[in-house]
Amino acid sequence: MSIRLTWCLAALLTIPLPLLAAVQDETDVDIQVREIAKTLRCTVCQTENIWESGAPLAQQMRGVIRDRIAMGHSTEEIRAYFLSRYGDYILMEPPKHGVNWIIWVAPFLLLLIGGFFLYKEVTHWVRDTPTPPSQSEPPLDDQARRRIERELKS
């Protein structure tokens, strides 16, 4: 047995067994259910998607997704079904059409408007602030120079 193979086997032994089992237990259907469920909003808990939510309705919705996958429906067909029942609200990410564009554009628009006004205001301050007259430093006299040298030495 080569050294590389021995190292690979040793590395595998370091993986916790439950984790390995969990990865192996997840079927293609489970993965598809998870991917779809993560894009749909839980209608009773609002801030969670139906994959993460523990609400009974979210659980039932996951069951409906699984049933429809078993019936051969595609991801888009299943999402379209939920959309037809609950409207845009069911989607975690609002679709980019119609009035929904406001949600996507408004934060950047506000940032631009705010930045524009800030720029105008700052340039206004800079222009209106009088520059102080330039004053040359008075030369050090001998007494001051000696004092500085003395303090530097001490």
Binding site: T43, V44, Q60, M61, G63, R85, G87, Y89, L109, I113
Partner: protein, 187 residues
Amino acid sequence: MSKGWQLTLILTLVGLFALFYQGLWGDPRHIPTVLIETEAPNFEGPDVETGQTISLEQFKGKVVLLNFWASWCYECKVEHKSILQLHQLFKDNPDFVMLGVNYQDELADAQKYLQDYGSTFSHVRDLKGQLAIDYGVYGVPETFVIDQQGKIRHKWVGPITGEVYTNITQKVIAPLLNAPPTTTTTS
């Protein structure tokens, strides 16, 4: 900056703040329905009390009032008296049918609820939640009115009491049945 630009900026800001304000003060739990004027999904399920199969198809051509409820739901208890009163009002009309849909409930709890609070019409069990999802239900009570052509004409989220009761009886069901009922209100 020209006056035109200033005005555009101000109007944009006012518009955006108006939207945010509406979002802040609106009910975040309210989900606008997309089902009005769409075909009511057919369903089939066991009767809560008798176990016999009930399907929407058997009431084709009638005005159907569908009321989603659960024994654990407080607002369902609040509206129950009005729901019975509503049935009493229209039950003699051969074109009217009222169905309850028991949602996310245990059979024994649902049967006890009906025994305790009374029942004058049939109630179908939503065993896997499929029926509720088909109707875009997200809480109880929710009430739907389906017309003779099988289209959803009205949806109400919350108890059917007071003004809501008056509205649903006089402005929704009665015009559909083409026979105005006598004026009745509930407290």
